[in-house]
Subunit: 123 residues, 2 copies
């Protein structure tokens, strides 16, 4: 397992909405993703999901009110809570959740993206 | 669940070697801890452990060689791998692991500390 430098990993890609797995923690995956614009409303019925913003300003829309995160701020969307990330500008963030959780949750559709393991160093 | 501002949480305590739970993710805990000096060699037989350095320079001593982390760098100590954190200066870091994992692993002893939930906002 190699040291993961978050800024270095972020420098290696520019595409949006394509989560990159950079480390594994038991059956969880640590992912980096860049986003801009609005995602789709969706729910993960079986798991919480942690968002940690590295750069930019992220709003997580929730049916009960929005949450806005800047660099160094994190939020855990509880399981079963419908949410929709949106970013006016570019946002770089870390996601932590169990492996195998689809990014679009129950919603599915064209925004569904398989995680990318190309930035994961050999274990 | 409230937004967790890492710097704000770190400003609320100064003691070393006393992990503060700031968020929960399923059955995992997100902890902030300040350290200085050397810990004890120990192993977690049943779980990996994620270290993410926020401030300072952390060395994780391993029997196969040391790993040194600065701000924005993370490392996952695999389950069963003996390790011993050491910091010459003050280090602030995030730990992620399942709830109930003792900080001293199999070693036990006087450095064992119960996690502190006083900085955990109402869920």
């Amino acid at each position: 397992m190699a040291v993961v430098d978050i800024a270095d990993k972020l420098s290696l890609f520019s595409e949006h909405w394509s989560p990159k797995v950079v480390a594994k923690l038991n059956d969880y995956e640590i992912k980096l993703v860049k986003i801009k614009g609005e995602f789709v409303w969706h729910t993960h019925e079986d798991t919480d999901e942690l968002f940690l913003v590295i750069d930019g300003s992220l709003t997580i829309q929730l049916r009960d009110g929005d949450v806005t995160l800047g660099p160094g701020q994190l939020y855990v969307v509880p399981r079963g809570v419908e949410h929709c990330p949106i970013a006016e500008g570019d946002v770089s963030m870390m996601l932590i959740e169990p492996a195998g959780v689809p990014n679009t949750g129950d919603a599915g559709g064209e925004r569904t993206a398989e995680p990318d393991y190309n930035l994961l160093d050999p274990q």
